[in-house]
């Protein structure tokens, strides 16, 4: 195995383990958020191995840097006690969730081999800010502009929702 393959399988396993530890941690919400950070950073490394350099940088900055910090802020603002979530009882819901996920996963993995494309040769500056920026501003400017509308709506919505009183 070459070095990129070793890194891919190592960080892939780390991402899966920390994702599992996030959803299985029923006691401590802060620890779950830290597990999420580990998953995000592992995925960032995998993006680097897949030649998506700009996306990897954004993954670290936006997900690991901004989104998880907002999660941690809210957890600490609400001051959730460690025993706020006693062990949950609904076995039927749990069994349904696990069966749903495993069913979808099994069907997907069974049909997948043989239908995926083989890798092509990459252009010189693939995945850098230059290539992605050119595609973003020349080929998909409408999506870029609509994004600003979405962010504006999210800002206004968050401010209104978190305001102390609606009067």
């Amino acid at each position: 195995m070459t070095a990129p393959q070793v890194l891919f399988y190592g960080f892939g396993a780390l991402a899966v383990v920390s994702a599992l530890s996030m959803i299985l941690n029923v006691r401590n919400t802060v620890a779950a958020a830290m597990s999420l950070v580990v998953t995000m950073i592992s995925l960032g490394v995998i993006y680097l191995l897949l030649d998506a350099f700009l996306v990897a940088a954004l993954q670290i900055m936006v997900y690991a840097g901004a989104i998880v910090v907002v999660f941690l802020f809210v957890v600490m603002l609400l001051n959730l006690r460690r025993d706020a979530f006693p062990p949950e009882r609904q076995l039927a819901t749990k069994a349904f969730g696990v069966a749903l996920a495993l069913g979808v996963l099994g069907a997907f993995l069974r049909r997948m081999p043989g239908v995926l494309p083989t890798a092509r040769d990459l252009p010189a500056d693939f995945g850098g800010y230059r290539a992605v920026g050119r595609a973003l501003f020349l080929e998909y400017p409408l999506a870029f502009e609509v994004t600003s509308l979405l962010l504006l709506a999210a800002i206004v919505g968050a401010v209104v929702l978190a305001k102390r009183r609606l009067d």
Binding site: P4, A52, L78, L80, A84, T147, I155, L161
Partner: protein, 100 residues
């Protein structure tokens, strides 16, 4: 060279873990984190296909998904805070008033 099958397989596994978390957990904040995990799994699939086809479109999609995820977290956590202010809880069992 990383096989595309394994990238997509890892993405599917992470998506399944996120589904389990979103369906089974009762803590609203962890449910939101699980949804973030599912969005990340989709991003991984986009990047894998973008690499295989040597095209930029997949990475543009990833940027859009990141924006949607950030907006979702802002609004979702705003709802969580409003909920906590009214109910002193982030357990979905305590806000099942509309449940049949």
């Amino acid at each position: 060279m990383i096989p595309l099958e394994h990238v997509i397989g890892l993405s599917a596994i992470l998506f399944a873990i996120g589904t389990i978390g979103a369906v089974t957990r009762r803590n609203l904040i962890v449910m939101l984190m699980s949804i973030e995990l599912m969005l990340n799994a989709a991003n991984l699939a986009f990047v894998g296909f973008s690499r295989a086809w040597a095209g930029d479109a997949g990475q543009i999609f990833v940027l859009m998904v990141i924006v949607v995820a950030a907006a979702e977290v802002a609004v979702g956590l705003g709802i969580v805070i409003a909920l906590f202010r009214n109910r002193e809880s982030v357990n979905v069992e305590d806000v099942s008033l509309l449940k049949w």
